[in-house]
Symmetry: C2
Subunit: 463 residues, 2 copies
């Protein structure tokens, strides 16, 4: 009988995270300060607790997962590896399609893998309260959930337009004890300034990040820190449990290493989670095609240059070495809110630069078509972000059929779409368009970046 679900026991959960930084052919470039010089880890101390900063700069290959974190993850981990037999049949492909089901976490996505770890390390460091921003709401929900279980307060600045359009996401955070505030708000200088100038602004992720960081660093008790849901090294580290589990699960059924690995990529965390443990194998000589998939409307990897850029619109973060469309780039309103980020995780950017990953970009309509094919075969409703991975999976499975090759495809089913049904509604009623990025916008960005520092030019040092 075909194994449709490959399930690990609790005792088989991975006990260490994998740190790709230890194995990259060239070392990571450090972040730069406003003066263009590398910053030291201590510069981040007002924003993050020291134990997470240590992980951020670590070069150690394996980092132990504390038992207390595992005890929380056991609520839904190890997560199932499933085989998409119904999609395989429909496509008449000889390819075997496996997917890691990250939709089984209580908030419904991969985000809690790092939310739980970050909340736990903050708690260990004596922190009482976390602040963060959220766009569509996945990350805000995940951090609220983690803080509830660990015993921290959580304040989420949610982009006003999403706050108004997605009242259920806000309630979800409140159920887990999170305080969810529309951004811009009157709680920060950054928010007040913008409200004064533009009282009717719909807000933006850039503004929300500025407010969340300000709320953390200005708390005079010193017991508040900021938490980020993607992009940074320690966030990606925590997500590698996804790929490590998948590797064990494939071994369990005697399956070979995947020929193709696919994940959608916004800030890069779910993609890194599924792929980095296999990038290790690729570095060590195995032949694996690895595809980060981004929206054509926000193509940082496929169209953006590899530069130093800020992580937020208001330039509160250091300059990070990454593929970017520019910190003031405002992506068009595609429904995959989690993929509407101007930059890309430095580790993912670096791995692309080294030729280890081959980024792809798909337009919105093709992704919803793929999601509907999934609905009609596997039966579940995926997140709009996840549909980007599925679009690529379908393309590769069809190619395998044409080539007559029994390839093994692994992808990350990063989350369900039960809180994102309005996007499906727009698609079904024919209102959606592709919203691709115009070439002149890309040219404008490229010109701006020409004068900025470039990673890996011998000018930058080490952390």
């Amino acid at each position: 009988m075909i194994s449709r679900k490959i399930l690990l026991k609790d005792e088989d959960i991975p006990r260490q995270w994998y740190n790709l930084a230890a194995d990259l052919p060239t070392p990571m470039d450090p972040p730069l300060g406003p003066d263009g010089k590398p910053i030291g880890p201590e510069m981040l101390a007002p924003v993050f607790p020291m134990n997470l900063i240590e992980q951020e700069v670590s070069q150690q290959r394996w980092i132990d997962i504390p038992e207390e974190i595992l005890d929380i993850l056991y609520r839904w981990r190890p997560a199932p590896l499933r085989r998409a037999v119904y999609l395989e049949r429909f496509l008449k492909t000889p390819a075997k399609i496996y997917y890691k089901d990250e939709s089984t976490s209580p908030p419904g996505s991969h985000k809690p893998n790092t939310a739980v770890a970050q909340a736990w390390y903050n708690k260990q460091f004596g922190i009482k309260r976390l602040t963060t921003e959220t766009g569509a709401g996945q990350w805000g929900s995940a951090l609220s959930f983690a803080c509830k279980l660990i015993g921290l307060e959580c304040k989420v600045f949610m982009v006003r337009i999403s706050f108004d359009q997605k009242p259920f996401r806000k309630i979800m955070m409140q159920v887990w004890g999170g305080k969810c505030i529309a951004s811009p708000s009157n709680e920060t200088n950054a928010g007040r300034e913008i409200l004064q100038k533009m009282p009717d602004t719909p807000g933006s992720l850039g503004i929300a990040i500025s407010e969340a960081i300000e709320a953390a660093v200005t708390d005079s008790s010193g017991k508040t820190r900021y938490s980020l849901g993607s992009v940074l090294n320690h966030v990606l580290l925590h997500q590698t449990i996804i790929g490590l589990e998948a590797k064990k699960q494939l071994q369990m059924i005697g399956e070979k290493l995947p020929d193709i690995i696919i994940g959608c990529a916004g800030g890069g965390s779910n993609f890194a989670g599924i792929s980095f443990p296999f990038v290790y194998d690729k570095i060590n000589g195995k032949k694996i095609e690895i595809y980060p998939v981004e929206p054509a409307a926000c193509p940082s990897l496929t169209k953006g240059p590899f530069v130093y850029d800020h992580g937020d619109t208001a330039k509160m973060t250091p300059l990070l070495p990454m593929h970017s469309l520019g910190h003031d780039f405002v992506p068009q309103p595609i429904h995959a809110g989690g993929l509407r980020y101007h930059g890309m995780a430095p580790l993912v950017s670096r791995a692309v630069h080294e030729g280890l990953l081959t980024p792809k970009a798909y337009p919105q309509l093709q992704c919803y078509e793929a999601a509907m094919t999934w609905v009609g075969t596997e039966g579940t409703i995926c997140a709009p972000e996840t549909s980007h991975a599925i679009a690529c999976v379908i393309e590769e499975a069809v190619k395998a059929r044409e080539e007559g090759k029994e390839k093994v495809i692994l992808f990350n089913y990063s989350g369900h779409g039960l809180m994102d049904l309005s996007g499906y509604d727009s698609y079904l009623s024919g209102k959606l368009t592709n919203l691709e990025l115009p070439q002149d916008e890309i040219d404008r960005m490229t010109a701006i970046f020409a004068s900025m520092p470039k990673p890996n030019q011998g000018k930058t040092g080490k952390w």
Copy 2:
């Protein structure tokens, strides 16, 4: 290491449903026609396909599950049996609390277990289209899902107030290809008549049932049938896969038979699913306490008499032998929409009458408190219906602590609450009240029933 998740492999899925009717100490009473005489199975033929009517009247203990149905159920079944270790710790109880997680189906509840079976049998019978009604939307979603995978059209009459208040449920049905119409509608005589008298009516489940049955029986092609999501014998039969899996899973870890089994009960289907395979053991001498849990606002088992009553407000169904609050009873607007049904499945009603089950009723606020305890320990957001089971679980676990007994408690986690967040919002903002049923209303019902036929008085024959 404690087994937090007890997982069956696909090949261990039960291959037969269990039919409690074969083992009840006294046989089931037949439904009665408008003349008060037992109706024959053929009377149901315009409404249901003959293969399902055969299951409805079957006295056979075990009924084979067709391989083609299993092939669809494998998408999420066997479902996990989980142990609520975090709740146990919080309650400091020596009880072991196991729960069957039915929230893992694509529509998020136990409903697809019978939706898939019903759609498949209809398809086998040559039917092209199913009609049904839905209140909160769980059942309409499940039937749309099943029809999508099996290749039937599906038309859902959704109570207008829910249609307007829960736009996401409607979209969910549409994603699975279901056609969702606000009821009362202009598509049926029943709907048109009501709209003419009351153009602004919020609708009711009774009206929606009338419309769905009319739409099925008046289709001149003869290729349309009606589908019901609870109450009837064949619906409960299909749900027994829940308890049969749970029994295997408990055996797998060497656990004894449960001391206590709990499920929420609206029409009775999820409760029957978890409990009936164990009612078999109770009939055969094992000591098990089995609690169907209903809302205090709609207490058909604890306050309603065991009588013959119609399944719908418009009296389109035969008289069914059941506990009922009266077919014209309109329950108060508690958030557990799936428990707002005036009657109770005849099989459950009969088992209560035989002393095999001990019904309990809980007020709304206690149920939301229980749900919030669950959120803070196990971490997931349960459906408002499921919270009724959890309220009873917590009470029993605390009792076990007080008695110092290591009891085994099993309950059915019938669904998640991600589409029901507005109820949590009302609770958290202090707007909820208990909405218990006033005694004078019960007295009024009891008086009406005094003149109606009673089950089990020797006047009724056999099917």
